[in-house]
């Protein structure tokens, strides 16, 4: 059995609603987290993201200045100086399937629909800590692999072109980001 050593994890939470930030902070501290940074809008969150290099980002969708979706898109810039790989958990009152797809296409790692529960939040954190997915980079997308399931029952055209051409080893961008602060 595994559990998460929360006191070594650094969180950034971003929500314009002070009550929801308080709830989130309470839950994370109860899990054992010590480092929890808070932002009330996307712009501040991006600044804090670059400064504190959090391990996990938890963000609301609807926020002033720029929203959680834009925040995710700005974090997922493969050429940026910061870490583009951090898990992003989108916690939102939007509960339509269409929204989940849009969030997924922005590079969000996990989606958690409000109302929030301790169990739901813990499960999402466990997922991103224990089961990180590889990242995919295409002309139009950079983010965690959107194919969660490997199934042999898929019927339809293969949309990813095959033909492996090369394997490159690169220094970790996360390491580069951390060494820059």
């Amino acid at each position: 059995m595994y559990r998460i050593d929360f006191n070594k994890l650094r969180f950034l939470i971003c929500d314009d609603n002070p009550h929801m930030r308080r709830i989130l902070r309470t839950l994370l501290h109860s899990f054992g987290a010590r480092e929890v940074y808070e932002a009330e809008d996307g712009a501040t969150a991006l600044e804090m993201y670059t400064h504190y290099v959090p391990d996990i980002v938890i963000t609301d969708w609807s926020m002033p200045i720029f929203d959680g979706l834009e925040l995710a898109q700005m974090i997922r810039q493969p050429e940026s100086k910061g870490n583009p790989y951090a898990p992003i958990i989108m916690l939102t009152g939007h509960s339509e399937k269409r929204r989940v797809t849009v969030a997924r296409d922005a590079g969000v790692t996990e989606f958690l629909a409000k109302p929030i529960s301790a169990k739901g939040l813990y499960q999402r954190i466990m997922n991103v800590v224990a089961n990180p997915r590889p990242f995919i980079k295409t002309k139009t997308y950079f983010g965690p692999d959107r194919r969660r399931n490997t199934t042999n029952t898929y019927i339809g055209p293969e949309r990813r072109g095959s033909g492996e051409v090369e394997v490159l080893q690169q220094p970790s961008l996360l390491e580069k980001a951390r060494s820059a602060i």
């Binding site: 059995m1 595994y2 559990r3 998460i4 050593d5 929360f6 070594k8 994890l9 650094r10 314009d16 609603n17 009550h19 929801m20 308080r22 709830i23 309470t26 839950l27 109860s30 899990f31 480092e35 391990d55 609807s62 790989y85 939102t92 009152g93 939007h94 509960s95 339509e96 399937k97 269409r98 629909a113 409000k114 109302p115 929030i116 301790a118 939040l121 813990y122 991103v128 800590v129 224990a130 590889p134 990242f135 995919i136 980079k137 295409t138 002309k139 692999d145 990813r160 072109g161 095959s162 033909g163 051409v165 090369e166 394997v167 490159l168 080893q169 690169q170 220094p171 970790s172 996360l174």
Partner: protein
């Protein structure tokens, strides 16, 4: 914080995409514990949340008043991008928070209002009473929660409002299939 140095990134290049993998930088945050381990972080968090519950009534009142204030601005100034946004944001916050605060029916009424704001082709053409009834319902649910019969009444009220709102939206969007699909699609939130 994560102190461990993440390993090198491996990039596999294919015809149309690259697959990027790196050793899990958070792997060291996983602790193997015996099955007999009694630590219950979720239970602990639920208890902490229960400890906050004494403040929920006040928080909910603040949220409901913010919604009423946004509605008052709409009544005074009409719908503009700014007034629409503030009304939607206030309703959307209640939709997301109210169930956590112990007011699931207020969340349902707020969700119905969000759908009207999001999907009505012309907010100026929405019957003002329909919006006002949603605001009043949220206020009534929040203010009268201590009454014993309120939970049942609140549930019926929010369901009726949702039914009327959906009927209006379905009719108003009869020529807008993308909105109609969104209106009729089931929520991804599990039922209570």
């Amino acid at each position: 914080m994560a102190k461990d140095k993440p390993g090198t990134i491996e990039v596999k290049s294919f015809g149309t995409h690259h697959v990027i993998t790196q050793p899990n930088p958070l792997r060291k945050m996983l602790l193997r514990v015996p099955e007999s381990d009694l630590d219950d972080p979720v239970g602990r968090a639920e208890q902490a949340l229960a400890g906050l519950s004494g403040e929920f009534k006040e928080w909910m009142t603040i949220e409901a008043d913010r919604l009423s204030a946004a509605h008052a601005t709409v009544l005074r100034e009409g719908f503009s991008d700014k007034t629409r946004e503030e009304l939607f944001r206030a309703a959307h916050d209640i939709k997301g928070d109210a169930a956590t605060f112990g007011y699931p029916s207020a969340a349902a009424a707020a969700e119905s209002l969000c759908r009207i704001i999001e999907h009505a082709p012309d907010l100026g053409a929405v019957p003002p009473q329909l919006i006002a009834h949603h605001i009043n319902a949220v206020q009534a649910i929040v203010r009268n929660r201590t009454k014993l019969d309120t939970a049942v009444v609140a549930g019926v009220l929010s369901k009726q409002l949702r039914g009327i709102a959906d009927e209006f939206l379905t009719h108003a969007n009869r020529d807008r299939p993308e909105h109609l699909e969104a209106i009729l699609a089931p929520s991804i939130v599990p039922g209570e």
